[in-house]
């Protein structure tokens, strides 16, 4: 145990931050705006940094533990019959990687947010939510069972809802509460995925009688080796079939959380939240939960792939479906990004597209490549989002500057609209440089981080046989081209040319509190590729393999192989194999780099060469079919196709089934009327006529009898006297009768 016993602190620090900012932070800010914001913001940031320190300590602890996974049980959570779920943290190389990304990028974003949220009336509430998000995200990545993962999964969903709707009282020109609507949309879209997660977990427990990762994976491998069928009461299913269902449901859960087709629609709207939120939750960490889920469950996916079970109706296996979903999302979202004018929406669709790359990677079995891209993407996409926040800040500043005295266009100005920007490279020097680095990293320009990670995915797709891999490779290459193109368009619109609005002319660089985290992230975006630096030739790899000294090359691969079991499943059983060696594929790398450069150049010097002189200029693509992507995508499909149907179904269920049939007919007619009828019978017939009749009848009879008898009571003494006399005579006659006769 030893050093691992500090693991719970990872959760305790953010929780302290939540309690501090949630309970007293507001008092600090209200007492004194200036120092209160410092206290509130820095307290939250220090808690994030403390969690980062714990994560780093755990990194060294693992290194000193020969990278063996360590499970820290905090307490028993659920223990009912066979059903045992502990509250335990699994410290292995995979979870530590996620911890470092979450707390590392998270800390920088916390610090940035102190500057970004300056002056917001709900400053401390924002940091409460950020720390709460860290807390749940760390539960998600450290839990040693699916149920804890699900707790984190739901918790980050809640925080996402709270933070997207952070400015829930803002309304647009039409009076619609767009931020609150976006928050609800994210929440509802995620519910669909969450339902799949619940079903997947139920099925997992039913099949393997456990929800803890290690027992589930062990028994899955064991069952695969023995070839036993899975018993569901009277039914029987093959292991491959059951795992296909589980993994397909995992894909659906991941599609919700990681914004894949068809559930990606919430992520672009989620940009309504403050920009640090977009960077932290909707680019770097939360949206990667789906990738983490699949990487964590890699054993199940590999067994499905090996068992050759195909999804009914489609004819491909569930891991292939994962890969194709990711690749399709990558292309699809990449094309939509062409049509966006909102600086953050472009980045949002770019995020969806890049998440598609990661999902495609893990679907192909390139788990390390997926994780590698997850990490580098966290660096450069957080960088891009935070830089865009800096741009928005600058634009707001500029607008504030010019709108002194005349407020007439105040409501119509959108500081996020790229059409009003332009020429910002002179006004915001630092932001321009870091944005450039982030864009080039995202576009995959050598030697920045994005190049190495994207290339590893492309190499994996191209070097494996089969039509699925080939399709994925082509789609991802197209997506890579799209990425470079829309980033070129964005750079051109935001930073080059002339200012197209007075606000852009007066834009100013943001405070150092915001730009310094940007520089750190820029450095990470430049050097992130070193994490899993490939060998340059097969010979170099072989030589390193011989010498058992890989140097700095493939560090992530060797680090992660301790938690992503590298094995190959065969009919005879499990054969443990080393990971497929990755040395750079020059052909793949050359194609993708050339395409990226061409796309950038095409965007800047061809398509948008003379464009963007004025803010109301049309985009040249607006007259091409590509622009259909702006209206065609799933949002429209949902709004026009599914939601009316759903509303009609809800109307049917609500009005016809529930109200008319259930309430009016069943409750009112059947239950109520039967009951009222019986009550009336009991009251009128049984009680009034029966019981009351008996009682009243007895009274009537008594009254009738007494009416007759009272006639004998005349009140005259002589009557009674005569009675006595006659009585006496009668008695005498009775007694004397036998004596006389």
């Amino acid at each position: 145990m030893g050093i691992f016993s500090i693991a719970p602190l990872l959760l305790v620090f953010p929780l302290i931050g939540v309690l501090f900012n949630g309970l007293v932070g507001r008092r600090f800010v209200e007492y004194n705006r200036e120092t209160g914001e410092k206290w509130s913001g820095w307290f939250g940031s220090v808690m994030a940094l403390s969690a980062l320190a714990v994560a780093v300590a755990l990194l060294f602890a693992l290194a000193g533990h020969e990278f063996h996974a360590e499970i820290v049980v905090l307490f028993d959570w659920i223990h009912v019959g066979d059903f045992y779920v502990p509250w335990a943290m699994q410290i292995d190389t995979l979870s530590v990687t996620m911890m470092l990304v979450v707390t590392g990028v998270g800390s920088l974003i916390h610090i940035y947010a102190i500057g970004y949220m300056h002056g917001d009336p709900n400053f401390s509430r924002f940091f409460t939510y950020l720390n709460l998000f860290l807390f749940f995200m760390l539960i998600l990545v450290t839990g040693n069972n699916y149920l804890m993962l699900f707790v984190g999964w739901e918790g980050v969903g809640l925080c996402s809802f709270l933070l997207i709707g952070f400015w829930f009282d803002r309304v647009n020109a039409k009076g619609e509460a767009m931020n609150a609507n976006a928050a609800r949309k994210a929440f509802v879209a995620n519910r669909v995925g969450d339902l799949a997660m619940i079903l997947a977990m139920s099925l997992t427990f039913w099949t393997f009688k456990s929800l803890e990762f290690a027992p589930v994976f062990d028994s899955a491998v064991e069952m695969f080796e023995s070839g036993h069928m899975v018993q569901f009461g009277a039914f029987e299913a093959t292991l491959g079939g059951v795992l296909t269902a589980i993994t397909a449901l995992f894909l659906m859960g991941a599609a919700g959380k990681s914004a894949q087709i068809p559930l990606y629609v919430w992520l672009p709207d989620a940009m309504a939240g403050p920009t640090p939120v977009s960077a932290l939750i909707h680019a770097a960490t939360m949206v990667t939960s789906g990738i983490y889920l699949i990487v964590r469950s890699n054993v199940l996916f590999e067994i499905v792939r090996e068992s050759g079970t195909l999804l009914p109706g489609i004819g491909i296996s569930s891991p292939d479906l994962v890969a194709l979903t990711g690749a399709a999302t990558a292309v699809f979202a990449g094309l939509i990004a062409f049509t966006q004018f909102d600086i953050k929406k472009v980045l949002a669709y770019s995020t969806v597209s890049q998440l598609g790359f990661m999902i495609a990677a893990v679907g192909m079995g390139a788990y390390v490549a997926g994780m590698f891209h997850l990490i580098t993407h966290a660096f450069f996409k957080a960088l891009l989002f935070l830089s865009s926040g800096s741009v928005i800040h600058g634009m707001e500043h500029g607008h504030h500057h010019i709108s002194h005295g005349h407020h007439d266009d105040h409501d119509h100005f959108d500081p996020q609209d790229m059409r009003t920007m332009g020429g910002l490279r002179h006004k915001m020097r630092t932001t321009y440089i870091v944005y450039m680095i982030g864009s080039l990293a995202l576009a995959g320009i050598v030697p920045l981080a994005g190049f190495w990670s994207k290339d590893e995915i492309l190499a994996h797709a191209s070097k494996n046989p089969g039509p699925i891999f080939f399709t994925v490779y082509i789609m991802l290459t197209v997506a890579a081209f799209c990425t470079a193109f829309y980033m070129g368009r964005q750079l051109k619109m935001v930073f080059f040319g002339k200012p197209r609005h007075a606000a852009a002319e007066h834009a100013e660089e943001s405070s150092p509190l915001m730009t310094r985290p940007l520089m750190i992230l820029a450095a990470l975006a430049v050097f992130g590729g070193l994490l899993n630096f490939p060998f340059f030739s097969e010979a170099a790899y072989e030589a390193a393999h011989e010498a058992h000294d890989y140097g700095i090359n493939l560090a992530l691969e060797h680090w992660l192989e301790h938690s992503i079991p590298s094995f190959e499943l065969t009919e005879e059983g499990i054969v443990h194999m080393p990971h497929t060696p990755t040395w750079i594929q020059f052909d793949v790398a050359a194609i993708s780099t050339v395409l990226a450069v061409l796309a950038l150049l095409a965007a800047v010097f061809l398509v948008y060469r003379n464009r963007w002189q004025t803010a109301d200029e049309r985009d040249p693509l607006q007259s091409t079919p590509i622009w259909w992507m702006a209206v065609l995508p799933f949002d429209t499909l949902y709004m026009k196709g599914i939601i009316p149907l759903f509303n009609r179904l809800a109307d049917f269920l609500g009005y016809t089934i529930d109200w008319d049939l259930w309430h009016n007919f069943f409750h009112e007619r059947v239950i109520r009327d039967t009951f009222v009828g019986f009550s009336n019978f009991a009251s009128d017939v049984l009680d009034r006529q029966g019981v009351d009749g008996l009682v009243n009848g007895a009274g009537q009879v008594a009254r009738w009898l007494s009416g007759g008898l009272r006639l004998s009571q005349t009140g005259y003494a002589r009557t009674y006297a005569l009675g006595i006399l006659l009585g006496t005579v009668a008695l005498l006659a009775y007694f004397l009768w036998p004596a006389i006769f």
Binding site: Y716, A717, R718
Partner: protein, 101 residues
């Protein structure tokens, strides 16, 4: 003619019958009272006659009880009659029918 027990019993019966008729037929409460006294004394006569005839004193003892009770009854009865007269200015028993049902 010898004075046998039969004569006594006959006299007693006649007196009792006259008393009973008086009670039933007369309206003056005092007369009714006197008739009751006559019935009691008819009974007393029968007791005494049987006691002498049988040579047993039990009947005579009983007569004293009857006389005592009759005296008490007269006291109570006359008091009642006086009270009724005070309130109704009459002792006609046909006018006294408060007990009519």
């Amino acid at each position: 003619m010898e004075l046998t027990i039969n004569w006594y019993i006959a006299l007693s019966a006649i007196l009792f019958s006259l008393g009973a008729l008086g009670v039933l037929l007369r309206r003056n409460a005092i007369i009714v009272f006197m008739s009751i006294e006559m019935m009691l004394n008819a009974a007393n006569l029968a007791f005494v006659a049987f006691a002498r005839h049988l040579g047993d004193l039990d009947g005579q003892v009983l007569v004293f009880f009857v006389i005592t009770v009759a005296a008490a009854e007269v006291a109570v009865g006359l008091a009642l009659i006086v009270t009724i007269f005070r309130s109704k200015k009459s002792i006609n028993i046909d006018e006294i029918n408060l007990m009519k049902g």
